[in-house]
């Protein structure tokens, strides 16, 4: 099947400012910064503000008020939904909470991006979903809707869905919150497999816990209103 994704390698901001509609001060003010290229990037902020917003900006869910967001030199901040789609198909995003389609079952939620964009054959889509559901022990609840399953399984489904397209870059907003230890171990195994076999190149994540950062030797990305800086990989 013809691939419709574009490579996503270098992510950079150029004089980028972002603020929420009713906010008095901008959340990010004229930031010029090239995102780290490490395999895993742990996004942190001293004041606890702006981490989710940064992930959403990188994923194209938010548009900056001014400045440019560059992917491999292309200014994507002014692109239409259709123009940005090839980049978006190379990205995966998981929310800190919510994000599952409530009138679809767990299996349908996982199948949705694959079926909608017809990136793979229906059989392969089904295989990918079945495999993920087996690994995370979601198979027995496959036909239930999100409101009918435990919170940890909802969270798990949302995180897995970010990987189901086999993206090049994933953005995980607080992926470990609400997960049981077994789920966390399974997730780490799944992410490792994605790096090794499914073309995953980079993972940006926010987390209160250093667990993922330590396991993947993540580079720390500290963010504030008017500066971004990086720190070396976290020791395992």
């Amino acid at each position: 099947m013809k691939p419709r994704t574009k490579p996503v390698c270098n992510l950079a901001f150029e004089d980028l400012s972002f603020s929420f509609p009713d906010a008095k001060e901008p959340l990010f003010d004229k930031i010029t910064f090239e995102m780290p290229k490490s395999k895993a990037v742990w996004v942190r902020s001293p004041g606890g503000r702006g981490k989710s917003t940064l992930l959403r900006l990188l994923c194209g869910l938010y548009s900056p008020q001014s400045g440019r967001y560059l992917i491999d030199g292309q200014n994507v901040s002014e692109m239409s939904f259709e123009e940005f789609l090839p980049y978006r198909l190379a990205m995966g995003y998981s929310f800190d909470f919510g994000g599952l389609i409530n009138n679809k079952s767990i299996a349908e939620n996982l199948l949705l991006p694959l079926q909608y964009h017809k990136l793979v054959s229906p059989e392969e889509a089904q295989d990918r979903v079945e495999q993920a559901m087996r690994l995370f022990a979601l198979a027995e609840n496959r036909d239930l809707r999100p409101s009918a399953i435990p919170g940890s399984q909802r969270k798990m489904t949302c995180v897995i869905r970010a990987f189901i397209n086999w993206p090049q870059v994933v953005f995980l907003d607080d992926p470990l919150t609400g997960l049981k230890q077994d789920n966390i171990n399974d997730l780490i195994y799944y992410v490792e497999e994605s790096f090794a076999e499914r073309g995953l190149r980079q993972m940006f994540f926010t987390s209160e816990s250093p667990l993922l950062a330590q396991h993947f030797k993540a580079e720390e990305l500290m963010i504030s209103c008017d500066w971004f800086t990086t720190r070396p990989a976290v020791a395992a």
């Binding site: 939904f81 919510g98 964009h117």
Partner: protein, 280 residues
């Protein structure tokens, strides 16, 4: 009060007045823009198959159209009976019994069916769509669709708009049938009226102009209701407490726009007639 303070007060009143005038215009533009954008998104969305659109459209027709049939039946039966009873009795007294069909077509087909159907749809489905989409926003479902590369206007709004328009047209046709036939049955129990006379009178009165007006009013009413409801649902920003607020706004604005549109079409139609007759 100093001169400066008076000027400032006048200035702020003028600004407030200006906002009151431009507010509805801005709102109307945004709503119509949403129709355009959802059609555009659906047209340019190469991934969205007919199957995906059809499943949401058919669900919308089921909830908006099929499930509203009992309520529409009661309303159509009652209004049809009242119109026939009142008009046949009074027209007989005035010697205009042959105009019964004309009156039925003018009142039921041109006016009551589009307006009452729209009001029922606003109450049942407009509220449901606004709160459903509002909750989808709260639960980040709309953002999740976007993150998956699925355009929310094409996946969520367009099928609801299409399903809503089809439902409103079908419900209005059903309303007319029940009002005309059911109304006759109820009336015949109380009043002597032969079916052949009644049917002949209706058939003579019904013209292509009535059909055009009926279709115009119902198509646009459906589009207005579902665009405003989707728009209001999409306006939820900060949390679940906004859902009831946007639902109320969806109802109020839909009623205002639908009534205004129906009234506008009727006024323009009769102005056109008067102009054609050379009376104005």
């Amino acid at each position: 009060m100093s001169h400066e303070n008076v000027l400032r007060a006048v200035n702020s009143s003028l600004i407030a007045l200006g906002r009151r005038i431009t507010g509805p215009i801005e709102y109307s533009i945004e709503v119509f823009l949403m129709i355009y954008l959802s059609l555009r998104a659906a047209f340019f969305d190469q991934a969205q198959g007919l199957r995906s659109v059809f499943s949401v459209v058919s669900a919308q027709i089921y909830f908006t159209g099929f499930q509203a049939l009992p309520l529409i039946s009661v309303l159509a039966l009652a209004s049809g009976s009242v119109v026939i009873l009142q008009s046949s009795t009074n027209l007989s007294l005035l010697g205009g019994a042959s105009m019964l069909g004309d009156l039925m077509v003018v009142i039921v087909v041109r006016e009551l069916a589009p307006l009452l159907t729209a009001l029922i749809v606003i109450a049942r489905s407009g509220t449901a769509v606004a709160s459903e989409i509002g909750n989808m926003r709260v639960n980040k479902e709309i953002e999740a669709l976007e993150a998956m590369g699925i355009h929310p206007l094409s996946y969520v709004v367009f099928p609801r708009l299409m399903g809503g328009i089809i439902s409103v047209i079908c419900l209005a046709i059903y309303y007319v049938v029940i009002a005309i036939l059911g109304g006759f049955i109820v009336t015949s129990l109380l009043h002597q009226l032969t079916f052949s006379y009644y049917a002949d009178s209706i058939a003579r009165a019904f013209s292509s102009v009535d059909f055009g007006l009926f279709l115009l009013k119902n198509t646009f009413s459906g589009a207005i209701i579902f665009t405003i409801s989707c728009y209001q649902g999409m306006m939820v920003r900060n949390g679940p407490h906004e859902v009831p607020q946007v639902t109320t706004k969806a109802v109020v604005n839909s009623v205002i726009y639908v009534v205004g549109f129906n009234l506008g079409v009727t006024i323009l139609f009769y102005l056109g007639r008067l102009m054609a007759l050379g009376l104005i």
